[in-house]
Homo-oligomer: 286 residues x 2
Amino acid sequence: MNFFLKTAIIFTSLFTISSCGADSVKDKQWRRLDLNNTVLMTLPHGKVVIELAPQFSPNHVAQFSKLTKDGFYDGTKFYRVIDGFVAQAGPKDGSEKDKSVALLDIEGEWSTSEKWSFTQVQTDDLFAGKTGFKDSFALAYDASEAKAWLTHCPGTLAMARGNLADSASSHFYFVIGQAPRYLDRIMTVFGRVVYGMNHIQAITRTSTIEGEYAIDRRDHTPIMSMQLMSNVPEKERIIIEVENTESSLFIERLVKRRARKNEFFYKKPPPVLDVCQVPVRSRLIK
Amino acid sequence: MNFFLKTAIIFTSLFTISSCGADSVKDKQWRRLDLNNTVLMTLPHGKVVIELAPQFSPNHVAQFSKLTKDGFYDGTKFYRVIDGFVAQAGPKDGSEKDKSVALLDIEGEWSTSEKWSFTQVQTDDLFAGKTGFKDSFALAYDASEAKAWLTHCPGTLAMARGNLADSASSHFYFVIGQAPRYLDRIMTVFGRVVYGMNHIQAITRTSTIEGEYAIDRRDHTPIMSMQLMSNVPEKERIIIEVENTESSLFIERLVKRRARKNEFFYKKPPPVLDVCQVPVRSRLIK
C-alpha cells in the first residue's frame, strides 16, 4: 500500500498538465453531486441519474435543464436505439412540440488557458494527442490548438442535431456501445450517466440486426418522467457521490491500472489506458 | 457510388497485408454460418446466436462445443455481471460439476506465416501495431513478433480462468462494455455474438454501483439452454449470415467510414478507425 502511495505522489506531476489546485481538492476522494445539476430520469424498468456539465457546455445544460423543469421530456420516447451505438430520445420529429424549441450553437470544444489543467490518462490516444479527466468527465486535449473537448464514452449524454453544426435543440442520446469517438468535437456532450446505466442498456432497441426489423413505435421505451433532482421530493431523491478525478487516490488508481501488478496478469499488457475504459466510480448515499 | 468503388479498388492493396485469396472470396459480401460452429443460447428474455472460432482457438471451441452438446450449461447462471465490463457464467465455483471439466492450455495468440493475411483496419492502435479483421473476427497483429490475436470487443466471447495462464475450463464471459483490450493475448477469445446482443445487455447485473449492492443469487439470469445450432430442430434454427470481412464491399465500407464524406460531418474527424467500433453486420435468413 505504501508503495502505491509513494508512486502516486511521484506520478501526480506527470499526470496533470499543471498544478491542479489546493491540497483539499486532491485529498477528497468523493464529490457529492449538485442537486441542481443532477437529473433523475425514470424509465418503466428503473431509475437513471445523470450528472450535467454546465462548466463545459453551459448553453446546452441550461436548455436541457429548462426543458426538464417544464416536463418537456415526460412521455417522450427512445425512438432510435441501435445496439452498440446510441439510445436517442426526443419529441416526434416535426411536431409542434419539436419545433417549439430554440436551436443551440454547438459547444463541442473549448479553448484552454495556460492555467487550465486536467488529470492526464494517456498520450497518443487513437483520436487525440492527450486524454484525461476533469470533474469526473472524460476528455481529450490538443496542445497545439490549446483546445479540449468531452469525449464520447459509454454513458455519455449528448445532444443530437441535423446536418448543420448549430441545429441541436431537444433531442438527445446516450452512448450505449464502444466509444464512437469520431463524434467528438462535432457534437455537444453535456452530461453522463452516474447511476442506472444497466437500465439505459435495457432500453428497447428500435431495430434488431440493424435495419432489418423495425420495432413498432408503440413499443418504444418511454421516459416516464425527467426531473431535476432539486425538484424531486426529498424522500425520493437519489443522492450520489462520484470519484473526484483530481484526487490523489484516483490518480493512484490510474497508476495501478496501467501497471497491472496483480498476478492474474502473468504477462503484462501494454502500459496504456483507454480513457473510455477507465471506470469513474459512483456510490449511492441514499 | 462509382467513386467509392474506385476508391475501394485502390485501397484493397493497402488494406490487406498480402493477397487474400481467390476473387470469389472477395466478391462474396455475406457468409452463411456453419451450423456446427454456431451456438444458440436461450435466455429467459430472448435468444442469442454465437459464432465460434475453431480456426483461431481450436481446443477452447472443442471443449465448449462438447460441454454445450452435453447440456452442461443448461441451468447455469450469469453470476458475475458488471455493467460496462463483462457478463460471466458457469457452474457453481468448486462444485463437482465445476471440477469435472479438464483445464485448457491458453490459446491467446498464434504465430503467423508469411502467407497469412487479414483485412487491415488501423495502424498504431493504442494496444497493437495493427488491427483488422479475419473471418469477421476483430484481431490485432504484431509484425515484429509475427503474431496475431483476437481482440476483446463488445460481444466477444472468451473463457475465464484463474491466475494461471492454463487454468480455463468451462466458465466464460461476454464483453458488454468498452473494449477491455488489456485482456488481449492473456485470455482465450473463441467466439462472438452475431445476433441478440441486446439480450446479452439485458442480463441482470450482479451488483449495482460496483460492489455496493449484491443481487441475490436466485435473481441471477439463468441460461435456459445452450445448443449447437446443428442439434436444434430444423424448424427452430436461427439461420444467420455475416459480412465477409475479406470482401471488396466490406473494405469499401471501411474506406467510407474512415473518410466520413457525409455532410453531417461538417468538420472531419481524424481518419482513424477503432477496430472494436467497426460494425460487422449480420442478417437474419430465417
